[in-house]
């Protein structure tokens, strides 16, 4: 066969155009790239370093988000093509990401065995909220923690705070003595609980009215609002406030690890949902429905189950949290006494027992409307 100049250029042209016609063929499988969108912790060198060592030549990137909805917006804005893994609180994964096809199921055969080593709340039976309504496993749980409110126990004793529960913030004597950590989706849940309502069930008109009253009262009595947990802890430590509405192990632990153990996450002893008034969150790490997926994504999910990595994820810079894998003695041995005290390990089981699972808020849109309006004053 002779190659003329014309046939050569034609061939080159076809070769050049091929990727445009069959993008799947042109792009090699992304074996050398992994992009993780996560809460702080998974993006630290302690976690990514060892994974990079295991996969030399691969580019592993992780970006930390500042809120669940911020991260979801990224996927919605077309970044499903960019990210391989997303780590966020489970209601968003179950309520929005999976139904909208932004994440995809995990291989049960590969990941179910990891549940066996988890703490009883997450391992036996396997954490029900890690599964979608169709029974698919949509993410792996790791960090969790009770999340209700935080007090300075020098000013308000743990016993008083637990006994009074959410009503503490309606006490006229507390006006001007507390702050609100404005994690808006959490505030909705906690204000419902304060109004003796179940946020995870649809509310009636009387319920909305009660929520509105409580929201107005709580906003009016707050000394400051901020979405920055450090600002809240600082105000608590320097005596500006005695408690803050919305908070828990996740927010109190940095102050506690610094020796300020009078800063304590509180779970109300009783409340409106089957007698429970606290809420516990858990994160799920899920596979993004990337049209060109990286095979490293499930590998990473398996990698973070190792004891040292569990510790690195749980004890990342900034906030400290228990992990479901602490049911495994080998993982548990990674924590020392001070670190266990920082995450309130002594009362964790009791607090979890007094808490309900963080779930999708049934009337989220309507409550959000009332909430933002009350916040405006």
């Amino acid at each position: 066969m002779t190659i003329s100049r014309r046939s050569f250029t034609l061939g080159m042209g076809a070769l050049g155009a091929a990727p445009l016609l069959r993008p799947g063929l042109a792009r090699a499988a992304r074996t050398d790239e992994l992009n993780i969108l996560c809460w702080e912790g998974y993006n630290t060198d302690d976690v990514l370093g060892p994974f990079r060592d295991l996969n030399p030549g691969a580019t592993v990137r992780a970006e930390s988000g500042t809120s669940d909805p911020d991260m979801i917006n990224k996927l919605r804005a077309g970044e499903v093509k960019v990210w391989d893994l997303i780590n966020l609180n489970q209601p968003w994964a179950r309520g929005m990401l999976y139904p909208e096809g932004l994440i995809k199921p995990l291989d049960k055969e590969r990941f179910m065995p990891f549940f066996e080593k988890m703490t009883p709340e997450y391992g036996s039976p396997p954490y029900p909220l890690a599964f979608a309504e169709d029974g698919e496993l949509i993410g792996m749980p790791q960090r969790y923690g009770p999340f209700s409110f935080v007090v300075n126990t020098d000013k308000i004793s743990r016993a008083t705070a637990e006994e009074q529960g959410w009503k503490l913030f309606l006490d006229p004597a507390m006006a001007g003595r507390y702050g609100i950590l404005t994690y808006d989706n959490w505030n909705l849940i906690h204000m419902c609980l304060t109004a003796d309502l179940n946020p995870f069930k649809p509310l009636d008109e009387a319920g909305f009215a009660a929520f509105g009253d409580v929201a107005a009262q709580i906003f009016a009595g707050s000394k400051l609002m901020s979405d920055d947990l450090v600002a809240m802890n600082t105000a608590l430590i320097n005596g500006e406030i005695d408690a803050y509405f919305t908070g828990g192990t996740y927010t109190a632990s940095p102050a506690r690890l610094d020796g300020l153990t009078n800063i304590r996450g509180i779970t109300p002893a009783s409340g409106p949902i089957d007698g429970k008034g606290g809420v516990v969150w858990a994160e799920l790490t899920s596979l993004v429905n990337n049209p060109d997926p990286s095979p490293l994504a499930p590998d990473f999910l398996e990698f973070v189950q190792q004891p040292e990595i569990c510790k690195a994820v749980g004890f990342a810079e900034g906030t400290y949290n228990p992990v479901a894998q602490m049911g495994d003695p080998e993982v548990f041995a990674q924590w020392d006494e001070d670190e266990l005290d920082a995450i309130q390990w002594d009362t964790l089981e009791e607090e979890s027992a007094n808490s309900v699972e963080y779930d999708s808020v049934a009337d989220y849109d309507k409550l959000m409307e009332i909430y933002t309006s009350a916040r405006r004053g």
């Binding site: 809120s67 909805p69 911020d70 979801i72 917006n73 919605r76 929005m96 702050g179 404005t182 808006d184 989706n185 000394k223 400051l224 609002m225 901020s226 979405d227 920055d228 600002a231 600082t234 105000a235 430590i237 320097n238 005596g239 500006e240 849109d365 959000m368 409307e369 933002t372 309006s373 916040r375 405006r376 004053g377």
Partner: protein, 284 residues
Amino acid sequence: MRQRERQLGALYALPLGLFLGLTFLAPILLVALFSIMPEKVFELTHMPDFSAYRVVLAQGYWKSVAWSLFLAALATAILLVVCWPLAYAMAKVFKRFTLVLTIGVVMTLFVSENIRLFGWVLTLMKGGLIEGYFRHWTGIGFDAPLYNVPVIVFGLVYVYLPFMLFPLAQGISMVPDDARQAAFDLGATRWQILREIELPLAMPGIMVGSLLTFVLAAGAMAESKLLGGRAVITIADEVQTAFTYGQNWPLGSALAMVLIAIIGSLAIWAISKADLDAMMGRKS
């Protein structure tokens, strides 16, 4: 020949024009389109129904708009008064020291706004730099002057000072010394000179400085969030809430469009009043 030159000019300007159109107008167009979509949708493929604007009107968002505009106007007025003497000195008195001052003010811009505001929080908070030392020395403590409206205005004035100072100094430098001296010779008082000579001649600088600070301050939220403890919910804060926790992009877009419309009209009105050619030192 003339016509050919004009055509060539348009042709040369085309790539940059397209680039500017894409980078400046396209994002605003996208926001405008989202703002007319039905609530809670994430694509532009739905029938527009303008419902987000109804929500903006029905739910008291005007309060946030009013607060933002009021705070911006107040900060601009304070900045004008505070910066006038300094800008005057920079333009007419300081000579070489002006450079030092310019570098000093510009240097603050190298540090992120959030970090500078955090610095103020650490300075002003209870147990912070001021109250902490005062209590240490005197045994008397006091509440932090944080988490209220005045501290938000202080934050805006602090952050946007350079944006008023430099245009104002530029404006004042355009006031000819001869005009002032002539007015003096003719018996004008200091007040008359300020009102009838300096202010009118420095007006382009005043307009540009005021416009810059007002537009920036109206869209600000860090001051209210960090220093003010959200004592006031600004419109930018509402936009952020709608886009994030609200997961309501059309509402966020509609709120943004309302702000753009108000600020845009003000800016166009002000620019039409200011003689930009004179400002740039060109004689028309």
